[in-house]
């Protein structure tokens, strides 16, 4: 019995198996893009712009004559790394904030809860757009904006876990033994609260991929010529009647990736039997 047992169970379920396989493929694309992609992502060939999908270019070319499939493969790199980095920051910050709020309670908790509840009720896209207006455009600021947009979710979730665990007997026992607050939070409470937050983080990674794409629609995020699925769809919008494949394929890439994340997440939730603990979101 290890921590990997539930993951194994998840993978052996039909949904989990298929989605895990797709995710491995997407991650492989991101990691080994230069080996897999048939062309370089930034080599322009203006006379060959907007070529229909065919033998030379399976997914056609974009408005600069760049191979679309290569850009989607490289785009997996940008989209995944933005989403994963942003959500990791968000989860880490949410765990800390939520744990402190839940553990200490009092005015600190009330303040955190009020802010978190309010921002949680605002659409992530608005939060992210406003934040980017403040910090300026670019890949890093997009990551920061996305991570703050999802912060409320993880803070709420962690706080709820901690609240539930706080009153359990072993914590009281540890407190009576004279352990410090941070020892209790980081040694006893957080490890037990971790699983649901990480699973929620995994599911949110899917949402973050969509958010990154939506920011790309507004021209924010990865700076050209770096391909990201969002930026590709954004320029594809203008080409929709001339070269619809420019917008269709990145959209499909997003749909397939996000569905797989969701299905695998679901399988994991069932295998871990933590549905109830995720409820407080």
């Amino acid at each position: 019995m290890t921590a990997f047992a539930p993951i194994r169970t998840a993978i052996w379920s039909p949904r989990g198996g298929v989605s895990a396989a797709v995710l491995v493929l997407v991650v492989a694309c991101a990691l080994f893009a230069p080996l897999i992609a048939p062309y370089a992502y930034d080599i322009q060939n203006l006379p060959g712009a907007n070529t229909e999908p065919g033998a030379a270019h399976w997914m056609g070319t974009d408005e600069f004559g760049r191979d679309l499939m290569s850009r989607i493969i490289y785009g997996a790199r940008t989209s995944l790394s933005v989403a994963v980095t942003a959500i990791s920051i968000s989860v880490a910050a949410g765990l800390t904030l939520g744990a402190m709020a839940g553990y200490f309670g009092g005015w600190f908790d009330r303040a955190v809860t009020a802010v978190v509840d309010l921002t949680w009720s605002f659409p992530e896209i608005l939060i992210a757009l406003i934040l980017i207006a403040i910090i300026g455009p670019g890949l890093e600021s997009t990551m920061v904006a996305i991570s703050i947009a999802y912060l409320a979710q993880f803070t709420r979730l962690t706080r709820a876990q901690i609240m539930a665990l706080k009153n359990e007997t072993y914590v009281e026992a540890t407190t009576n033994l004279g352990a410090g607050h941070f020892h209790i939070i980081f040694r006893h409470l957080l490890p037990n609260a971790l699983t649901p937050v990480i699973v929620a983080g995994m599911l949110a990674t899917g949402d973050a991929i969509i958010l990154e794409a939506t920011l790309g629609f507004f021209g924010l995020g990865a700076q050209p010529p770096t391909p990201s699925w969002g930026a590709m769809m954004s320029s594809g919008t203008a080409q929709i009647f001339i070269a619809p494949w420019i917008i269709i394929f990145p959209g499909l890439a997003i749909a397939i990736t996000v569905i797989s994340i969701n299905l695998f997440g679901d399988a994991l939730i069932e295998a871990l039997d933590i549905r109830n603990r995720l409820r407080s979101v």
Binding site: E63, P224, S234, S235
Partner: protein, 527 residues
């Protein structure tokens, strides 16, 4: 809000009464919907005097004193004739008789006496800055007494900003003029205006003072004209191709191939007033070296951008001014046109040698520069090609995309920017003053170009010219000097493309003027 509901009520009662007389179909047939160009979405008001952004409905609601044809000649609209003294210090205008505003107020010399001083203290004050006072000669004749000669006066008077509002309505409405209501003497009356959404106009049935540029000398053929605002060009295009709207004021060039495939869509072009270029910050390494600036300017392949991004529509830019301006006729040797050999030679001369990764180096420093651009498909496309073209001569460029408000702010805050892809839209040579005057370092002079010799030429061109010819000569000299210092790289001159549903409306083939304005719109008929 109240205004809208009133109009709706009005419209529905019209419909009812029309139905009674069996005229519903006729009334319906004279409706048309136009879409303003995407850059005019969100135009806040129809106040010509203090508005800084106006959309194309402005010339339909208001009339101007004079209007300019496509061949740059001026034609009278509310003025019938005009003359100026030889020293340019006095202009006399004869006014058209029998003109009334939509509120029934008469148009006469008193209107002009009231009108010109309204510009003082507004953002558009420069339009009339040279006019010292207005004198009434008789009921239909006025004289402008000038503070200094302004060869640009007629050109200013033909712009939408010098549209003439009804003095009574303007004074009565105050800040609400152009927002809740707008009263002019133009061929259409403003029925309702919802900012960012639509403007509904109705025909001015009393209109009988069209200029000699219009065939139709009476009321417009279109009875109800709606202007819609759509910010996504692709959405606007889909509306046109599905019959949802009748005319688009502007269409992106890359839609052309697809538009030509649509049986019901007719496309037309007009000369543009804009220019894409790259300002080069002359105060930041490596661009303090004129050789590197020269190399940058000659690395831009204007023809490649024209042919591949714009399908050959429009023209290359080789100077800072649009071709239709006389001051654009500079010494051909000074024009900046793609020359990779000259570019690489200049870089070699400046000591930048090719590195292994295709980016040049000098004393261990890479020739890697920042290239800014602003949000929007067209800008991003041009910038990506520029990036590749610079790379071809060994200049590496990192793109940053800003939204248009932020980019101007960045210019004000810091002076460490290097290159940017920018565009302007202005059909007058004084744009050189705006972007390169030593008085405006930082912004708008983002090239940070401070050269006493240039400022001397600037002064001569801006305020030392008595006649139009003199002004052109002075600006040409100034322009040539700007070109010789490589403070920018020219890219492209777009054309204006409009498109309409030829099954729904008939648009005359010859567009009079520099845009699709009232002089042409009154001749449009609904099929």
């Amino acid at each position: 809000m109240r205004y809208i509901s009133k109009t709706r009520l009005f419209a529905s009662s019209m419909l009812v009464s029309a139905g009674v007389f069996g005229l519903a179909i006729v009334a319906n047939a004279q409706e048309a919907t136009f879409v303003v160009s995407a850059q005019n979405v969100g135009t806040p008001s129809y106040n010509p005097i203090n508005g800084t952004q106006l959309n194309d409905a402005i010339t339909l609601i208001f009339d101007r004193m004079v209007i300019q044809d496509a061949d740059q000649t001026f034609h009278g609209q509310l003025a019938t004739e005009w003359e100026s003294t030889a020293d340019g210090m006095s202009w006399t205008f004869k006014l058209r008789e029998g003109v009334t505003f939509h509120d029934g107020e008469p148009f006469n010399a008193e209107t002009i006496v009231w009108w010109i001083p309204q510009f003082a203290e507004t953002e558009n004050a420069f339009m009339t800055a040279a006019i010292e006072s207005v004198e009434v000669i008789d009921d239909l004749t006025v004289r402008f007494v000038m503070a200094n000669p302004d060869p640009n006066l007629l050109s200013n008077m033909s712009s939408g900003f010098m549209s003439i509002p009804s003095p009574k309505a303007f004074d009565a409405l105050g800040d609400d003029f152009g927002v809740t209501s707008a009263v002019g003497s133009g061929p259409f009356k403003l029925e309702s205006f919802t900012v960012g959404q639509e403007t509904v106009l109705s025909a001015n049935e009393d209109y009988a003072w069209a200029s000699d540029l219009s065939e139709n000398q009476g009321a417009p053929h279109i009875k109800t004209l709606t202007f819609r605002e759509i910010s996504e060009d692709s959405t606007a295009f889909l509306e046109l191709s599905t019959g949802g709207v009748d005319l688009l004021y502007s269409v992106p060039t890359d839609f052309l191939p697809r538009l030509e495939g649509e049986a019901s869509v007719q496309v037309g072009t007009m000369p543009g007033t804009g220019l894409f270029y790259i300002p080069i910050n002359t105060t930041v390494e490596p661009f303090t070296d004129i050789k590197v600036r020269e190399a940058t300017a000659f690395a831009i392949n204007q023809k490649e951008i024209l042919d591949n991004l714009y399908g050959g529509v429009g023209s290359v830019a080789n100077t800072f001014l649009i071709d239709s301006l006389l001051a654009a006729n500079v010494d051909p040797a000074l024009k900046i046109s793609y020359d990779p050999d000259r570019s690489t030679a200049a870089l070699e001369e400046a000591g930048w040698v090719m590195g292994s990764d295709g980016v040049r180096e000098k004393d261990g420093t890479k020739l890697q520069v920042a290239l800014w651009t602003q949000n929007g498909t067209e800008f991003k496309r041009v910038t990506e090609v520029v990036q590749a073209q610079l790379k071809a001569v060994g200049i590496g460029a990192d793109i940053t995309v800003f939204d248009s408000a932020t980019i101007n702010d960045q210019y004000r805050k810091g002076t460490d920017h290097q290159l940017a892809v920018r565009s302007y839209s202005w059909a007058n040579a004084d744009i050189i003053d705006w972007f390169f005057s030593g008085q405006r370092l930082g912004y708008p002079n983002v090239s940070m170009w401070n050269d006493p010799k240039a400022d001397e030429m600037n002064l001569a061109a801006m305020s030392g010219s008595r006649t139009w010819e003199e002004r052109v000569a002075n600006f040409t000299t100034y322009h040539e000097y700007v070109l010789s210092q490589y403070v920018f790289a020219p890219i492209y001159q777009p054309v204006q493309i409009y498109a309409y549903d030829k099954e729904a409306i008939f648009v005359p083939e010859a567009i009079r003027g520099t845009r699709l304005q009232s002089q042409t719109v009154v001749d449009i008929t609904v099929n």
